[in-house]
Symmetry: D3
Subunit: 324 residues, 6 copies
């Protein structure tokens, strides 16, 4: 079959996608009559972001075989992501979480209800490695090892297996304080990170991994020198992002934006970063990452349903509308 | 304090209340953009039904101390039910379930996601027995012992303790096939039912308890003779309801209705039954029960938010509107 | 009955609660297809605010015995407020008002439709004084005497009766220009304020009572010296709040916030103030009041459905989210 | 100005139009988070119905000069009805009423909140008789004299003035039990009906006017012989409608329908009747009336927003869809 | 690449999918404030139906490269249908149509606004025949040749090309009176049908093609004998469906159902028919077709988002819920 | 008929009004489940704005005789605008466009779907010139000649005919880049503008007409000297507006506002300008125009549903609410 339309995914993102439930607007979880349903998962966000930019991506997770499991998969493949690698389970639940959007000084509030999900039981042997082997790149995050002891082991197994197959591995630390302590996270990460090609971290998570509060350039350099990835990328909120590849430090400033939904901005960055890397270079990756992150802030869904023309316009410096 | 306004609940209903999530109208769980939130719990339904008829009721359950736990309690005390006996927990989750309403021949579909809820960990010692002792009547259902081994033990303990305190106990078998097998249910019920004053059962559940398919009058008699409650009441869907108290068999026909939400109709019956019993007699109980069940079918919520005047009108035979 | 669960309300707030109808978002009353229903009443807001902070409160009003009257009561007792003192009427209507939220420079617009409500006919004799006598504190506002001649008389009667029973009385002037003129208000207030323990006023209302435009410290001092309450508290918008108790002037700055619904911010302040006073002192009262007022601005309802943890976080100076 | 586009209304309907508020679907007034807004007024319904059939109509009422008053007028003139005769008031309120749709055996429930509306103060002198004099026909209902003593007098004055100007008057008894007693209604009607050209009544209202339970043909005849209108028309629900003009009795059967909103069906009948009379004869009037009434049942609004092609199809006997 | 996950579609359905806009519930196009968006296309419905039953399907259409074009594609591939064969255009519009659901005797009303859509310009050369050649079966309908002269020619070209490649062709006549006259349809169909393996038609469309009103068995036989397909299948509404394959006539009765959305029931039948044929035989195809059609009636979307377990339950005769 | 109630429109605005469809809030066209329906047309906006200020206006367009055509007309005459001059067509479609509101840096996005609308076929002979001749003023925009070759000719014909009848003509250039190129626009405008009494243009459109980037005062002067209208008015966004009448240059600053819907702000300006001119002078026109434009920004609809009291308050400098 030489036909290119059924081409395999170039990048595969693996990790739990949950059902997220949130009241509309500024309403309260305690009071709202209805919850809007969202698809919530860092890795699926990255896969969708890559599709929007034109790189075919796949997403893998483990889900129960029911209407809610299908709801998650439908919500991802609707945007072109290949989901044929999903592991379907006859037991377990779909992980859920509740979000109340807040308004200053009332904080955004999250209630996790994700324990015992099917995703927490995923093992390396359940995956279709023939399928994964077709990909060039595998993207994981630090959320997966935090889900369960099983998942911590699986993450290690998956990373090793991928590298053994010659697949590039990117890993975004993505610390989740509701899932584990800093010490637990660090203990898991230090075992995984040595196998990673591209290490991505929010500045605070980088400091957590190194257990040291340092200037961001120092964090990047030290992570590179300690774990020897191909590159380290740090996101620094309104201070933009930086990267270090052992040769040079790259910087890109961030963009201004109106916040509609801040969830998934880091994942949109990752998608832009991978796109830039796969089609050009690290500098381009930071630029696309920052543009994707800014545009994501304006999208009501967690998925970065961004139009590539808007990214290009932002990269070109054309911002005709006043910030308001 | 002789003031009667802060009078204690006359009837207390004890059992899990969950957060129910359902798409609007005929929408699918798999497709719907939003879920309407409901309060779902058989015993809380009974408590609200009693309040609507003018008998002060309390509801007891165990809930985590967060916005979703408060959502459940708010949704019950809004209708006057006393919730001061609720057991608040710092751990555990709110049990949830998803409902898709269906349309013939597409069935109503339920996805339970209630495992590991705070309610499954309730023990007899966590209850405030001084509070319960103020009540005249305690209502329980066969759902509670089905929730967990802990709850099966707690149900026995609670029933014994209540009787020891001189409180009347009603028990509605309420078999739930998604929670346990018929054999498991029967094994638990036969230990509980001997302590029960008023045994209530759907006709099919009565047959399940007796492990015998019999005419409904025989079911009622045999249950009475086997377990010696004060009375046995059977609900028989469109065939109305019957009761047997060792002396006489009572019957009441059912009413016609337009179905808006069929969930909670049995609980509404229980509320009407208890109201009739507490204010008059068994015959009256059946009559109020059937009227409450029919009116409940027309209420969008699971809670029987019925106006007493509508019950009285129905009991008087005044049905000015054609069934359509 | 020594049981503490059925403890009486420590603070009782008395005053009309209405049905408020408002189009969603920025929609116009003239154009909107639907109106969102709210519960609107200054005193009920205070009662709910106290419950959120952990002080059991009661609310008293007069309502017709119909679905709309129940709607109002349900909306208050859902949050734990004791409503057993409500006066139910077989005649009269539920007061209503319509609100259009506006957007600068289009003002928020209110259409009052509250004349002839059941609440305008409340008399002192209709109240259950045995019930009220269980409370430590009674909170009233200057809206009540503005409702009708009957209510003006009732307010005087109630304040006198409460003081005679040893109950502390707080009174928030709450001038409403749609209900009466400044002169009418002043004439009524000067009769009531001498019986008040805690006088609360927006700075502009204090000036109206004294018929003098003065610096706020002077307003507070002069009110104290004229009417001899235990303390005078003035709210000054973005300038925070001050208090004077004959000994010392206390000040607390206000907080920044994103406005979701500005209605009820003053009532949330009152709840925080009473909480601080009842559990600590006047300075604490101002601090809690300002925090409650800021958080209220972010709540879509008029009721201050605030989480106490958010108040504590704000008081601790922990504001991790940038104002946006 | 000979231009026919600005032609005067051929029929004018005069009577109060209110703001109606109703929960969506089967929701309860007591529980629903939102109310859908409707325009509710028997006479305005007739005017809109006439416009749909192609006869230019005007509507006159009295409303306060605010957003809610404009909401009522906008909702009527949107369908082409001329509202330039409306009397605007600087005082008074818009009459309102609340409707809960019900579901068998739960009845449709109405809470009137229309006392003290601006409409209750309308007098004959406030009307622009030059404007009215341009019309050929004036339509009134028995609701207007029920609103207030002022309105009872005004109705008499208006009917007399219209007849003096040579305008035909139709009057639909439209008894409203929430507004007055049968005796009060009869006392008012017997003064008005002698001035009426076309008397329209539901069968039960005809019996009420005559204070006699009689066969419908007898009711029609006796009304004709007692009050000497040009014709008497009786609507008899599923039994269709009949008319008597002193010469002959006319009958038309009713149609089957699926009920979406039953409010305004009688008014739609009146519009069809007037259309038939004005363009053909009494028999045609009954036929159009019955078709309009059936189609109205399927319209969510109270206004009969019917397409004339659907009326013609129904009159032609072409009903391709099975009743379901 | 031997991996089966990226297997090609077994059946490809080709034809326009439009954006459908419809007011919620019984609301009117003329009055409704909002329109719900749907995906509307007979062939896409068939593809989705096949996926639900477990047969991988593809859909091909021509769409403009904008947000609305993506909306259509997202709405199809969300359910697993392969859309990689879609022809994207830089010009042209997305075809739209408006639907008002109606209520007896008010008919369902459709306003087509599909002229000049991108789909009307599709030519055989724009298709990726390497992609299509991977499929076993191609499904088309009589809507496509009705769209434009271009499409009439394309349909002929596509059918011939498919047969030349050894692909089976099914064709559902699907007469659309808003697109062409009976004579125009017949003229086009007689050129296409000779190339068809499976001819599917509603009974009335079969009569239109033969220009003869005949018993359904005769229609089937005569169509078979005239055009020599492998089989002819006729759908007869509540009379079920029949098939004739030159050897035998097959019949299956229809099921009862509650109508939520009748659009797409015929397409759901086609999906069930093809599933039965591809996995078993003609008799099975009729049975699955009738079950799919009945279940489709209960789905709010046009797409047959049916659960296969519901089909199996219906085929097994297990219908536990009373028709209501 | 001397009666003033049926007075003719003083100003008539002529031009296409479309059906606009937009997702709620920040939702995406590609993702949103529903579209809110709006009426969208520059000239209709002007007519409604004039009615709000108290000047009777008419609107003329050409629409198909179906539910969507009526939807457009209902949406305009609801606010008192006379629509009796509308040209109804038995063919053609209602022009539509889709709007996605955006959020910085994601732009507002418009998809035009207006080709082949009935409005594009309007000719001068289809208009009722007796009706138009009753008006004092005719308002047109540069959108009309951009719609089709037919419309370009019609615009010229209409402008000439109006002037021949002694009607004042205002023309707002309103360049639409999705409809034609700058060169095409300029070519059409230079033929029309010489017949215009009042030329209105955004600063950028003025530059486009003159094909020269110049200071705004110079643009105004040069336009005046080139085309000899009675006055030239330029709108300059946050820089306010200016006017030149050959004698003097007038300026008015703009107001601050919170943007709810920016569409139609220029049309609201035009309405304010015409009101000022017709009731006072050019300076007053600029002041009303700027106030109307600012208030329009806060209205969810495109129609300037502004209350005149808000305009007067803004003109008086009374802005009690802080900009937030």
């Amino acid at each position: 079959m030489s036909h290119t339309l059924l081409h395999p995914a170039r990048v595969i993102a693996l990790g739990e996608t949950m059902l997220m439930l949130a009241p509309p607007g500024h309403e309260l979880l305690e009071h709202s009559r209805e919850f809007i349903t969202y698809i919530g998962g860092s890795e699926a966000n990255v896969a969708v972001g890559l599709e929007r930019l034109g790189i075919h991506a796949g997403w893998i997770g483990k889900l129960p075989r029911n209407a809610l499991g299908r709801k998650v998969v439908n919500g991802i493949r609707a945007y072109g992501v290949d989901t044929s690698g999903v592991v379907w389970s006859d037991t377990g639940r779909v992980g859920t979480f509740y979000v109340e959007w807040g308004a200053d000084p009332r904080p955004i509030r999250t209630i996790y209800d994700r324990a015992y999900s099917a995703a927490t039981t995923l093992t390396v042997d359940e995956l279709d490695w023939t399928y994964i082997a077709q990909a060039e790149w595998l993207h994981l995050t630090g959320i997966t090892p935090a889900l369960s002891a099983t998942c911590r082991q699986s993450t290690m197994d998956i990373v090793r297996q991928a590298r053994a197959l010659g697949i590039h591995v990117s890993f975004d630390l993505n610390y989740r304080s509701l899932l584990w302590t800093p010490d637990e996270a660090r203990a898991a990460w230090v075992e995984i990170v040595p196998y990673v090609n591209l290490l991505i971290a929010a500045e605070t998570d980088a400091a957590l991994l190194l257990d040291a509060s340092l200037p961001r350039e120092t964090l990047a350099t030290r992570l590179f020198n300690t774990y020897h990835p191909d590159a380290v990328v740090l996101t620094c909120g309104s201070n933009g992002s930086i990267a270090y590849n052992g040769v040079q430090t790259y910087c890109e400033p961030s963009h201004m934006f109106h916040i509609v939904n801040r969830l998934g901005a880091g994942d949109a960055f990752d998608a832009g970063l991978l796109y830039g890397l796969l089609t050009a270079d690290l500098q381009t990756g930071l630029a696309y990452g920052n543009a994707m992150a800014a545009l994501k802030m304006t999208i009501p869904q967690n998925l970065p349903l961004i139009e590539k023309t808007d990214v290009l316009r932002l990269l070109s410096g054309d911002t005709p509308y006043l910030m308001r």
